[in-house]
Symmetry: C2
Subunit: 397 residues, 2 copies
């Protein structure tokens, strides 16, 4: 086994904070076997009771989209969701790998069709996240095909080495003690989150090339960062890497237009470039793009909340991803390079009890990047005062 | 895609007789992706509603056996069995691949430990089979590592080609119309099964080198072959290849000793050579072997029925497997080369209502080969008369 996967796996079980006796669900894609086996090793060494690795096969999904009755494409067998909820009921851990594996499996499919099949995403996963009923970690996983996509001018071997180097840096695996490095960065992010929470802004405004967007916040809203704690008390790092501070905005008060600053890669590898979205009264009323707008439109039409915001995240210029200037075509990495918003479900734990029922509900959650050094971020106070929040990637508060 | 996998997949969906609108569960092992994707293609083309491919990863199981608390090794998350039973409730189809993939994953493990973890086998699968609630097909799937095990003197490429040639022959994929060839062979097997059923033998005796075994039969017992029909009326070929006629014997009336005529490969790839079992009053009271007896002993100790017989199968010398003279180290192929018995659950559908409760119950089912041209098979009538059944592989009835 490539020892780099052992280091990645050690960080993954640290991120999820796997507890002795826990069942650990590992969500991998075919092609990520080496990482999955390394995580199984690391989790069993931490005392896991059972490591349940599932492999999603993009080529099987491709056969479905190409050959199944289009009317059946949204069907999900009941045991998928039942397993997810059972994980929550038994206080399990979850580790899932992000990263591109088989971009060619979906490249030539009709995005209107492939968007109907949201697997491996499950709407029940949003409930696990909202309920804080699993300690979990989504972590990036290098793959040669991903490397070729990110560094098309290099040979496959060179590209793969380059991807490992970049991702090791981004994951702080190039530090003598990656866990300690994450504690330090988590401290910084949580300080920013606290500062934003204390300001109690009524709204956030983003202004830059192609973007003029006002996003209303809940009066009881809080800003979160870096780590979560489950309802049974296990602190964990749900995303590695993570460079964001985020909240769940008011899904009824979003107005203006926004232009994405990075490509959006829908899980399943459909790449949406040049995305432009216009919001009215919280709803995404126009979705356009240079490529594959229809894939996002069909995702945004899956339920009522899929066309409203569930997340607003701000990313400063001091993380490790933005400075690389690289498009990774993977949401988990790219979303931590720049401020972003997400259509779909929000986070009930980021508001007080009085606003919990107003948090956006949806079976989906799609992040897309709208920040850059050229995008100014302001907070609007309840008195209508405008307070600079981010300028050229630097916190102003 | 290797077009041979397309032909194999076409035969698999024909064997399972996949119906339009069905959910199709495909059980594969990592390394069998090409076959799984080909089956997904073929099943969707037949109108499947959803093809649910699961990949069992032997290397993850290896990590468990090496690193988990031994006391937890029998644990199976509840959703495994719940999914199996849900397949039965929704009248689903099942296709599973047999064949060796990663023999080295278990070769050096303590068989007493690895035998505690029976995955990917599920006890609920025995209920699906007993209830005839799914139309299913277990089919062999070639793999280079399997080929190297079977033909150790050839190069990997030569061995793989040789395995494809042998298995194509055995699967009748070398016939212009494999489905028609299976209809013909199924007709022959069912004629032999009818002849055995009509004799209403009280017992079967096997005698040969190292074997002198008497197996009592149920008065209401029937002999089955080649195809099953689900409770909802779908005829299917549950095993491909199949060359056997079989019944479920009386689990209380088995006496004598038996020596296996081929190695037994437990799912998970532990190879048991030189197996010798002694029965008293139906129970396997002694299990010995030249190699890995402990793996079978621990399987036979999993529940009360695991040390009693659930199956007696007779194989004539006119199938396609026996004449090859090859040990395939895979039960689905090897069991169809020679007469065999199985410890574990029996088949309630092979007896009348009056004997149904007496059929052996167990969560396991382990076939091992006890027949050869040197083993004579006799039927014993209710009057104690001895009637030759098989001599040198030829039917005498």
């Amino acid at each position: 086994m490539d020892p780099r996967f052992e280091a990645l796996a050690d960080l993954a079980v640290h991120g999820a904070n796997v507890q002795p006796g826990q069942v650990v669900a590992v969500a991998a894609t075919t092609g990520q076997e080496e990482a999955a086996r390394a995580v199984a090793h690391a989790a069993y060494r931490r005392g896991a009771r059972f490591v349940d690795v599932t492999y999603f096969d993009p080529w099987v999904k491709r056969e479905r989209v190409l050959n199944a009755d289009p009317e059946t494409l949204a069907y999900v067998p009941p045991w998928y969701g039942e397993r997810a909820l059972a994980l929550g009921e038994m206080d399990a851990a979850r580790i899932s790998f992000s990263g591109v594996v088989s971009p060619e499996a979906f490249a030539d499919l009709d995005p209107g069709l492939s968007g109907r099949d949201q697997l491996p995403w499950l709407k029940e996963t949003s409930q696990l996240i909202a309920d804080k009923s699993t300690n979990w970690c989504g972590i990036v996983c290098p793959h040669p095909a991903w490397a070729t996509l990110v560094y098309p001018d290099l040979t496959e071997d060179e590209a793969y080495e380059h991807l490992w180097r970049d991702l090791s840096h981004v994951l702080r695996l190039d530090e003598p003690d990656p866990a300690a490095a994450w504690r330090t960065r988590a401290g910084e992010l949580k300080r920013s989150a606290r500062a934003l929470t204390e300001r109690r802004f009524d709204a956030i405004e983003l202004r830059g090339p192609g973007t003029e967007l006002r996003i209303g916040l809940f009066a009881s809203g809080t800003w979160e960062a870096a780590d979560f704690t489950t309802r049974f008390g296990v602190q964990h790092l749900p995303n590695l890497p993570t460079e964001e501070v985020f909240t769940t905005p008011d899904p009824m008060r979003v107005d203006g237009y926004v232009t994405s600053t990075k490509p959006l890669v829908l899980r399943g590898a459909t790449i949406i470039r040049g995305l432009r979205v216009r919001f009215e009264g919280g709803r995404a009323v126009e979705i356009d793009a240079d490529e594959n707008a229809e894939a996002l439109r069909s995702r945004a039409a899956t339920d009522d909340g899929a066309s409203r915001l569930g997340e607003l995240a701000l990313v400063d210029g001091h993380g490790r991803i933005g400075p690389l200037g690289t498009v990774f075509y993977d949401t988990l990495v790219d979303e931590n390079a720049a401020s972003h918003i997400a259509l779909g479900f929000g986070f009930p734990f980021a508001v007080g009890d009085e606003d919990r029922d107003r948090v956006n509900k949806s079976g989906t959650h799609i992040d897309f990047m709208i920040g850059s050094p050229e995008v100014d971020v302001d907070g609007i106070t309840r008195d209508g005062e405008r307070v600079p929040v981010l300028r050229q990637g630097d916190w102003q508060i």
